[in-house]
């Protein structure tokens, strides 16, 4: 995998998008790996008892899984030097069928001198934006 070069990038360039499929099992796996074991992410009865419609994905799962679009485009995950999001809506994960998170990304800014690109991510579930101000800065070659 080659590292992407700044000279080959233009503002407005769209990155290859993807769909991230989430099941309850995905969330249990993330809970174990991240040590965030809050039961709202795996226990339907508990989630509903605190007023949620159903089990919801960890915001950090969504943030962590969608950035793969940027890492893979850059050619090296270590080139993602800044990354920030706002969690605007929860991703509800039903027992049957799970949920699909749709990811699109576009280059918003590019500095040829520092070879840094700012990539904006648009992340939706069921047509609703689940992340706001999702921006990653990539150090290109």
């Amino acid at each position: 995998m080659a590292i992407r070069k700044a000279k080959d990038v233009a503002v407005g360039e769209e990155l290859p998008g993807r769909t991230v499929h989430v099941e309850r099992a995905t969330l249990v796996q993330y809970a174990g790996a991240s040590l965030d074991r809050n039961p709202i992410h795996w226990d339907e009865r508990f989630a509903k008892s605190v007023g949620l419609p159903d089990v919801i994905a960890h915001g950090m799962f969504t943030m962590g899984s969608v950035v793969g679009v940027v890492s893979d485009w850059a050619g090296d995950a270590g080139r993602v030097v800044e990354y920030g999001v706002r969690f605007t809506k929860p991703v509800v994960v039903p027992y049957e069928g799970g949920a699909d998170i749709e990811v699109a990304a576009v280059v918003k800014k590019l500095d040829q001198e520092t070879r840094r690109a700012a990539v904006e991510l648009t992340v939706t579930c069921d047509g609703v934006k689940v992340l706001g101000r999702a921006l990653a800065v990539v150090a290109l070659d």
Partner: protein
């Protein structure tokens, strides 16, 4: 119980060192579907100039959460964890977190605000190696929903 505004500006002592291991990086990468071999294959990582396999961009949350726990578990802070929602998260990486790093975090409470019956707390965790090399600045805003 309201969040204690006196905590704004407070800085905590460094957390005990967190030893970053290859197995945890692999486990985290698999959990977020990160397919870059740089997370699991040391020869790929060293080929790109890293000392060992590197963590995915949001792995730092694991250590930052341990920093935040100092505040959240402090009864004086008045944070009801069952009412906490994650509002915002940001990472600025100085270099990728790498297997073999021993990481300490210093937590600062940047702001405590009340608005519309909710409280918003923004924290900053400065992660560095035990040798003092800066790794990551992780900024988190949590919202503590007000009672009915």
């Amino acid at each position: 119980m309201a969040v204690n505004a006196d905590f704004q500006g407070r800085t905590y002592p460094p957390t005990p060192p967190y030893a970053v291991g290859r197995a945890k990086i692999r486990e985290f990468a698999e959990a977020v579907g990160a397919s870059d071999p740089v997370h699991v294959d040391p020869s790929v990582a060293t080929g790109r100039g890293y000392a060992d396999v590197i963590a995915p961009p949001t792995f730092a949350v694991l250590i930052a959460q341990q920093c935040d726990a100092q505040l959240i578990r402090d009864p004086e802070a008045g944070i009801d964890y069952s009412r906490v929602v994650h509002g915002e998260q940001r990472f600025a990486h100085h270099r990728p977190i790498t297997a073999g790093d021993e990481v300490v975090g210093v937590l600062t409470v940047d702001s405590v605000k009340e608005a519309g019956g909710h409280a918003m707390v923004t924290t900053r965790s400065e992660l560095a190696t035990t040798g003092g090399e800066p790794l990551c600045t992780a900024t988190s805003t949590i919202v503590i929903r007000g009672g009915e």
